[in-house]
Symmetry: C2
Subunit: 520 residues, 2 copies
């Protein structure tokens, strides 16, 4: 049995391993051939030492150099697109098309190129100059960044390819990637692309390093190490909170994307107006990709009346008739069943599903649960149990006051959405509910399902805890996402030739600067 | 015995009290006449309920309204300047002039007016519009903010008057102020000004609420409450870390300013060039205000040679000859003696001081300790014990490599400074040390003592942990400091009339907006 090597300090080398694992194919539930090591602390120590050296080189590097690396990486990814798509399909069962090849891969290279443009322009640094006091400041790189990627976007959120990766590198930091254990082979190909791109662009070879898995204890030690600048984590709430606690205690920034039920409110007028259409829109959105999106609409709030009943009936019919898709892993399948049990025990009624699915591989039946607003309010914490997958909980409020009370009990979410009638009949209800929902979510939508997350400078893929660890930052969107991996650096009476170029009086680059109160 | 009332929900009322305390006059060590209550959780619960209602009113309030409140508050403070100066002088022994009346008070009202201008213009919100995707985002208010103020700036960092207060209100949040127990009377006057200003400008009367003291347990419960948006804390490391742990576990943002030794490096050429002058500059800076600044230069790094010896001799002479000032409280006096003991036990040599001072009231002798670079590196954590007050530790490195190694062991600090010769002879040494120091501090200075903290948009009064809790934020400087009390709010396909004015297509206000990639 040969064991796959890890990427440390620019070399593919045998891991100092405390065990091995294999990924499996979710469509067949069979193990894939490759064997991957579980890395010990010795591997992490070696990565940290190499990352520290790489950071020393990168610290004063012009953004142009970083941009060249990110663009070379995007090119390498495109050159290996077939390998990546085949491997990711085998490891995740996500469709090759439309999805991996034609949606997620271009999104991933697009993110890298947007990050390159931001590194080149320096606009993320937000330079401010106070000439009278000779005080200048801008954001600068923070130090080596650890990235833990999720299972559901092997490319676009991958630890050696995705949004956190691109943002961390573009801000000038080397990355230590921990592959998601469900797609180690995919992550390995990205790490190969990164090493090739580093060679091509003369970057420190430890700009990107990668291991496949560690124990929880080693992972916690990693994110607290004094050489680490920050950590980006997307994944399960349990593992994420353990890392958060470790990082918090060490005073190390950690940005998390943990869980979100993404409440969608259908106000009465909207259901009167086009309830059947909305039932189809919701069902399609919730079942797309077998519901495995961080922004999947996992909770629906309606005001109980005939139109709402008809809407629910239609949703249940569509969920019942649709074939259940393949889930990403046995862990996702187990977790989904467990969440359903939790919700049922708390009093949610099964309208359809919760049992085995009728699809291939790991799967669960398309599920709709229902609970009254009053019951939701009695145990809001349990009722907000995320059921990650092809599942949603419908909350039926008796009236608008109860709907408001339901929203007031919500934890932080990535998104929240309100559908309302076009004739203005829902406006008073909107005005009552929207301010409550606004404070609970990162992104507020009208009349639109939340699943799409555009890579836009105006995007906020974030939200209050426990959706993320801090309500002020987004994980998607350049340059916003880069601020997570920067520190605010002030220069007070520093001699002109020692200043970063972007803060000098004679700077002539493209970045907008706030100089003595006016933007220039 | 009458007990001072607390300000809850717009009323001065008797506290639900679990005890009482008195402040004392640090110059005389005698108790001041007023008696203040220690508030129970019931007081906090009442404040939270009122703050939640106040926030609901403020959430959609135009910045103009907030600005009017802040300006009215500044005016009220000026009208009561004499009361404030007298009370603060009695409670802190800080000089009336030059300091309280003519430095700190104008700084405080200036901050409030800068915050008002930022609230009015909305520039802190950083609006971004993506027209093609109809996605828009900006920072918005977060919810009620708890402010714990420090002992050393009763006005400018006061919990009901200072930087955190101004930033939190300007961002649209009500404030729950916990007075510093060493100047409760001063804080009470500010709370009176705030209540008057709220009445004058028709703001919710709970926009500012205030208690004097709580138990640690009640304080921790307060910062984790679901109704709290965030907390700002400036004070001792121990109490701050306890609050941080509580807030972190609850996923509540907390911004802390804890401790900092503010390393100052004198490179050899600078001491050759003007060592005597620098000894005077350093001594004056370190003894000013009896050293009780967060940015006091508490650590000096020199390369051992004749010029460094002469510099140290001159500093010791000046420290020995200067009268020791009055410290803010018995707690500061005790803590300073305890820090000296810790440093001495770890091997620091006493060059002067560490005993009782020759001034009035609470005081300690002006103190200079010395340690070799090698000894520092052996136990860097202990050697970085903050000795808050008229004290500094001189670290003598054998050579440049050892100096670099000393800097590499530093924790996060608010400031770091390097003095170098004007003839270029120190440039190689600067280039070696500055990149190390840069990552350890929020503000890097050249040839300038760090004690002054200009209220400038370019200021960073922040730095890596444990100087603060997050390296991306500043506590001083408008609008930067406001971002701590905002959340990123995205609006996706939200109907135009429901958008915040600043994100609408027809917005015509003064704020710079990033629209479709270009600033307008």
């Amino acid at each position: 049995m040969s064991i796959e090597p890890v990427l440390i300090a620019g070399e593919w080398r045998a891991a100092d391993s405390t065990g091995t694992f294999q990924a499996d194919n979710p469509s067949t539930k069979e193990a894939l051939p490759a064997t991957y090591p579980v890395s010990s602390w010795a591997d992490c120590e070696a990565m940290l030492a190499a990352a520290e050296s790489a950071f020393a080189e990168m610290q004063s590097m012009p953004g142009e150099r970083i941009a060249e690396f990110l663009e070379a990486m995007a090119n390498r990814i495109e050159a290996r697109a077939d390998d990546l798509v085949k491997m990711a399909h085998a490891e995740t069962a996500l469709p090759e098309s439309p999805r991996l090849a034609d949606v997620e891969l271009p999104r991933t290279t697009g993110q890298l190129r947007q990050a390159a443009a931001a590194a080149r322009s320096g606009n993320w640094k937000q330079p401010v100059v106070d000439s009278a006091n000779d005080i200048r400041s801008c954001y600068g790189p923070l130090g080596p960044v650890c990235v833990f990627g999720p299972n559901n976007f092997p490319f676009a959120f991958g630890s050696a390819s995705g949004g956190d990766f691109a943002a961390a590198i573009a801000a000038g930091n080397p990355v230590i990637a921990k592959a998601n254990s469900s797609h180690p082979g995919t992550t390995k190909i990205f790490a190969e692309c990164a090493l090739d791109a580093a060679g091509e662009t003369n970057m420190p070879s430890a700009i990107v390093q990668m291991v496949y898995r560690t124990s929880h204890a080693v992972g916690e030690q990693l994110v607290t190490d004094e050489r680490v600048g920050a950590t980006g984590y997307t994944g399960s709430r349990g593992a994420g909170l353990a890392l958060k606690q470790a990082a918090d205690n060490a005073g190390k920034p950690i940005y998390l994307e943990l869980s979100s039920v993404n409440p969608v409110v259908f106000l009465p007028g909207s259901l009167e107006e086009k309830g059947a259409e909305l039932a189809t829109e919701f069902s399609g959105s919730c079942l797309m990709g077998t519901g495995q999106f961080c922004t999947n609409p996992g909770m629906v709030l309606v005001l109980k009346n005939d139109a709402a009943d008809a809407f629910v009936d239609s949703v249940v019919q569509q969920f019942s008739e649709a074939q259940s898709g393949t889930l990403l892993s046995s862990a996702v399948e187990k977790s989904l069943h467990r969440s359903h049990e939790t919700l049922k025990e708390a009093g949610a009624e099964v309208l359809c599903g919760t049992g085995d699915g009728n699809g291939t591989g790991y799967c669960a039946a398309n599920t709709i649960l229902r609970v009254s607003g009053a019951a939701f309010i009695r145990d809001p914490e349990t009722m907000q149990t995320e059921a990650f997958g092809n599942s949603s909980l419908i909350v039926e409020a008796a009236d608008l006051d109860e709907a408001a009370a339901v929203l007031a009990t919500l934890e932080g979410n990535l998104t929240g959405c309100i559908y309302s009638a076009t004739d203005g009949s829902d406006d008073a209800a909107y005005d009552k509910l929207a301010p409550i929902l606004r404070q609970k979510v990162g992104r507020l939508l009208n009349d639109k399902m939340p699943t799409g997350v555009a890579v836009s400078p105006a995007m906020n893929h974030g939200g209050p805890y426990p959706a993320t660890g801090h309500p002020g930052f987004t994980a998607v969107g350049i340059p916003g996402a880069m601020l997570r991996f920067g520190m605010l650096q002030c220069f007070d009476a520093v001699r002109p030739h020692r200043l970063p170029e972007i803060l000098r009086d004679d700077y002539e680059g493209p970045t907008q600067r706030l100089i003595d109160g006016s933007w220039q």
